[in-house]
């Protein structure tokens, strides 16, 4: 049980940490802010 709970904590930490890193990149489909930077008239 302890191993299972620990694995879930690791999963959450890695997923959130990975998301924070991805959001700092200028590309990737995990970054939902990408649409804010696109201007079709440029």
């Amino acid at each position: 049980m302890r191993a299972f709970v620990t694995s879930l904590i690791v999963l959450a930490v890695v997923a959130v940490g990975g998301n924070l890193i991805l959001r700092s990149l200028p590309f990737s489909s995990a970054d939902v802010r990408i649409s804010e930077d696109v201007r079709l008239d440029e």
Partner: protein, 416 residues
């Protein structure tokens, strides 16, 4: 006689499962070849008829090959590139068939403002084929996974639960360390989340959107996309951790041949085949998870970073070059558009994930309801001594010797 019949039935069942997995893979590969064979590499044959008729349009909508002569000839007379640029301005494109037909046949070279590797691709024929192949993968995947579940149910009905024939001894042997179990559960829980969210992505628009409504579907899909993209890192970490800890135990050994020939004793009561820490069946699962997991992770990364990590163009080029070295010509298309590469990655990602889900169904079955006493190995890290002797006798003997040696060793005396 009963045992012999059961043994043959078991072998037939294993053959059927193997054939199913292979068929899924081969069907997927065929789909990818067809998808990769873009019109640029093999132009459609043009027939002599120049007319564009309703039959032509309907046939094209059915996916049949129809002459493009008439469409290629009637591209408008007064459409200059400047005029085209005007129409595609910031107010959006006008619905001008002449314009789009020119774009379709590369007769004008429009300027586009969006930045990125796919900026100049306004119409992509292969996109429709990808959509069709995606539907085919979804349909075949559902059939395959349904087949695996049916086979497991059939096996359970015919064989029943694999019981511990010598009963529980009450003495437990350590089976997996805390770190091994954390790694396993990290891989397992991330895979389940990825599987559920991936299946949602694949089947949502096909089967679920009408059930829960479009607004709810959009909300849930946005959430599942975020879960799928970010849990992927945990899956990759779990895959690496499991591989590093277990690869040495999963190298092939002589006992594996006997184990496979006897079906691991799973199909006949009273038959126990000697095995080390991992038997041949577990080794097959290990290597399938390692190889397919790596493949699904690589294509997933390609999808996670759109157009940044093209993978199939390089693989096709490598296969063509390797084929050339031995005098073969695989003829795989090279110079794929970035979006084509992503379409191939998506198809391959889905196919491999489906095969993995099928394999894991079998793994979960045998680790839970399929075999008495098996779950405690991953649940508590310990197994009953009789379970170890029945299913992993070589490993059990080594463990018991080591435990006996430890008990016989006198406690260390402090140095004066």
């Amino acid at each position: 006689m009963w045992k012999r019949n059961n043994l043959w039935a078991g072998r037939a069942l294993m053959l059927l499962i193997t054939a199913l997995v292979l068929a899924l893979s081969v069907a997927g590969t065929g789909a990818l070849r067809a998808q990769g064979g873009d019109e640029r590499a093999r132009p459609l044959p043009l027939d002599a008829s120049p007319s564009q008729t309703l039959e032509d349009i309907l046939a094209r909508q059915r996916g049949e090959k129809v002459s493009n002569d008439i469409r290629r000839q009637f591209l408008g007379t007064d459409l200059t590139p400047e005029a085209a640029r005007e129409q595609l301005g910031i107010l959006g494109g006008a619905s001008d068939p002449d314009l789009w037909r020119r774009i379709r046949f590369n007769e004008i070279d429009p300027t586009v403002s969006a930045r990125g590797p796919v900026e100049g691709v306004l119409i992509q024929d292969a996109g429709m084929r990808w959509l069709e192949e995606r539907t085919t993968v979804a349909r075949n995947g559902a059939i395959g996974l349904g087949g695996v579940i049916l086979l497991l149910a059939l096996f359970f009905l015919l064989r029943g639960r694999v019981r511990l024939e010598t009963g529980f001894s009450g003495v437990e042997i350590p089976r997996f360390t805390e770190m091994e179990r954390i790694s396993h559960w990290l891989l397992a829980s991330s895979f389940i989340l990825l599987g559920l969210t991936g299946l949602w992505s694949l089947y949502g628009r096909l089967a679920l959107i009408e059930l829960i409504g479009r607004d709810s579907y959009a909300t849930v899909t946005a959430l599942t996309k975020q879960v799928h993209n970010n849990v992927a890192w945990a899956f990759i970490l779990g895959l690496v951790m499991v591989f590093v800890q277990w690869v040495a135990w999963n190298l092939p050994s002589r006992e594996d041949i006997t184990w496979l020939l006897k079906g691991g004793g799973l199909f006949s009561k009273g038959v126990h085949v000697p095995a080390r820490k991992f038997n041949a069946g577990q080794k097959i699962v290990f290597w399938l998870v390692t190889l397919l997991g790596t493949s699904v992770a690589l294509t997933g990364l390609s999808l996670l970073f759109p157009y940044q990590l093209p993978i199939f163009d390089r693989i096709y080029a490598f296969i063509n070059a390797a084929g050339g070295l031995v005098g073969a010509d695989p003829g795989l298309p090279e110079g794929l558009l970035p979006v084509e590469d992503m379409q191939l990655a998506q198809l391959w990602h889905s196919i491999i994930a489906m095969v993995m889900i099928g394999v894991i169904f079998a793994h979960i079955y045998i680790g839970t309801i399929g075999m008495e006493g098996a779950f405690s190995a991953m649940g508590r890290g310990k197994v009953d001594r009789n379970w170890a002797r029945e299913h992993h006798s070589i490993w059990a003997e080594e463990q018991e010797k080591a435990m006996g040696a430890a008990e016989d060793t006198p406690p260390a005396q402090p140095v004066e």
